[in-house]
């Protein structure tokens, strides 16, 4: 059968649209292969066990040491601190927005939170240096406050909008009859919130926290600027730390291409990639869970 010109164009358009879809898969595959390829090149030269269990990261030392542990512990420490701050504040704000605030107040607060999400990370890092650092320095009686706590506070600020928005959606998705039944039994708003609404929206809150963790793990500029970047093994919140992202940012600009040091940065990026992937997959699992719940 002969196709008309119209039908030919229609067919070509469909093929182009589908090709862009396949292109998206190719990008993710490309990122993964690029990381894998360079990581293998690294692991040929350095024993995997030394990489995983080494407690020193000093690629320019003699002999060079490529232990990921200090970077990994730094990353986890800063992220953990950020979540300690952001989770209670985020859930509290989301509960306030959805259960207590009136419509007018909501219309003011929602754009405020969206504005906070729009502030570029480099601007938040800058304020970490000029505002937070001197204050934290006084608090810990050290010359400056460029430490893990500084990074944790800044990352909390950056993760808050995500946590608030997703938690609020989750609280919204709790069926109204649940709350009405609770009110009917004589419970007040706070009791209903604590005993009914929050437990019922738990999957959504877990999703919110996971997405926040994913954001904090992968953030580069704020931690690069605010945590001091000492490559020694991290000792605590009042000490300078150096995360995986900051290490890549600092060292990639200086290494010659195709050296062990160059490959090592891809290797730590692979570890970061896997961590964020797992965290995001868990988050997504719980998002789907509360979406299903919403459909009931």
């Amino acid at each position: 059968m002969e196709l008309s010109a119209k039908e030919k164009i229609d067919f070509i358009a469909k093929c182009i649209f589908r090709a862009t879809g396949v292109f998206i898969i190719a990008i993710l595959g490309g990122i993964f292969l690029m990381l894998l390829w360079n990581t293998i090149a690294f692991l040929i030269e350095i024993k995997p066990w030394d990489f995983i269990s080494g407690t020193q990261w000093n690629p320019s030392g003699v002999p060079a040491s490529y232990g990921i542990l200090p970077l990994l512990v730094s990353t986890c420490l800063v992220t953990f601190g950020a979540m300690l701050i952001a989770i209670p504040i985020g859930i509290g704000t989301a509960a306030f927005l959805s259960e207590y605030a009136g419509k007018k107040l909501r219309n003011v607060l929602k754009p405020t939170i969206e504005m906070l999400a729009a502030v570029p990370s480099v601007a938040i890092g800058f304020l970490g240096i000029v505002i937070l650092s001197p204050k934290l320095g006084e608090l810990s009686s050290q010359p400056n406050g460029l430490n893990a706590l500084n990074g944790a506070i800044l990352l909390a600020v950056m993760a808050l909008p995500t946590i608030i928005t997703v938690t609020e959606d989750a609280i919204h998705s709790v069926p109204q009859p649940y709350k009405e039944a609770s009110f009917g039994l004589g419970a007040n708003r706070w009791q209903t919130l604590r005993k009914i609404t929050i437990p019922a929206s738990a999957p959504g809150i877990i999703a919110a926290v996971m997405l926040g963790v994913g954001r904090a793990l992968g953030e580069t500029m704020t931690v690069l600027m605010a945590t001091g970047n000492a490559s020694a093994f991290p000792k605590g919140f009042f000490h300078s730390v150096r995360t995986i992202t900051a290490t890549i940012a600092i060292e990639m600009g200086e290494v010659p291409y195709q050296t062990t040091h160059y490959y090592s940065l891809f290797a730590i990026a692979t570890v970061l990639f896997l961590f964020t992937l797992i965290v995001n997959l868990i988050g997504e699992h719980y998002v789907n869970k509360f979406k299903k719940y919403q459909a009931l």
């Binding site: 119209k6 039908e7 164009i9 229609d10 358009a13 469909k14 182009i16 649209f17 862009t20 879809g21 998206i24 898969i25 990008i27 993710l28 490309g30 990122i31 690029m34 209670p88 985020g90 509290g92 509960a95 306030f96 207590y100 605030a101 607060l109 405020t112 504005m115 906070l116 729009a118 570029p120 990370s121 480099v122 601007a123 890092g125 800058f126 304020l127 240096i129 000029v130 505002i131 600020v157 808050l160 007040n188 708003r189 992968g218 953030e219 580069t220 500029m221 690069l224 992202t245 940012a249 600009g253 291409y257 990026a269 970061l272 990639f273 964020t276 992937l277 965290v279 995001n280 997504e284």
Partner: protein, 281 residues
Amino acid sequence: MRKLTSIIEWGSLLFCTGIVCFFLIVIIGDIINKGSSALSWAFVSTLPTDGMTKGGILPAIMGTVLLTLITATVSAPFGLCCAIYLNEYASNNWLTRLIRASIRNLAGVPSIIYGLFGLALFVQGLHMGTSLLSAGFTLGLLSLPYIITTTEEALRRVPASTREAALGVGATQYESIRDMVLPSASPGILTGLVLTLSRAAGETAPILFTGVAFYINNPTGFLNQEFMALPYHLYMLSTQHQSIEEVRPLAYGTALVLIIVVFLLNSFAFYIRNKYSKNEG
């Protein structure tokens, strides 16, 4: 007694909300307060002088604007086509599910890893060198998942009857999309695009190794050359400059300009969104 506890309970939630607002007020307030004294017409319209301690940030503003334009040129057509495929053509098969899973995962990949990918693919693999083009392509890839998600959202809001009416009078599916679906989804698509670009304009990590430089005094042949950008300029002024205290006012000025650029793009997006939702109702 019961009343007192309920006030404490209510107060604790209000306190959480207050902290969030406090963060925003401190961020915006401090940057406006200390940045406005550095801001002047000369600051945004002249070249830096005396090793960055004096003069303006014109090349950084130009660089960010050009970079954002390249990002849009790369990501908007691809994102649009992919969203059209997912919303208009794709049936629920393994390919569609794989595409959707890829988009979700790409959105969660840390921005620094996009920087590494841009370095390996564009700078080295395709021999584009550290240049405006390499950095723009990298940011384009980073923006794709957001553009696809927001575009698909906009397409989904177009009622099925619009498509059926077009098909019913003999249009092909492509014609129905081009003449009916896209025009009515365009405000939503534009909102998503502008929001994504405002985010790309503030990104620093992906351009670190793909083309940004601290100082460029020779802006000829710009596409294949290194460039200056506002976020990177702020980073360098606040951490790497040899006389950090001296350039602090300039850093504040740069931060203010960056915030203004990002917020202007955001307000533009909200303006389109509000106008559109009013028309709809």
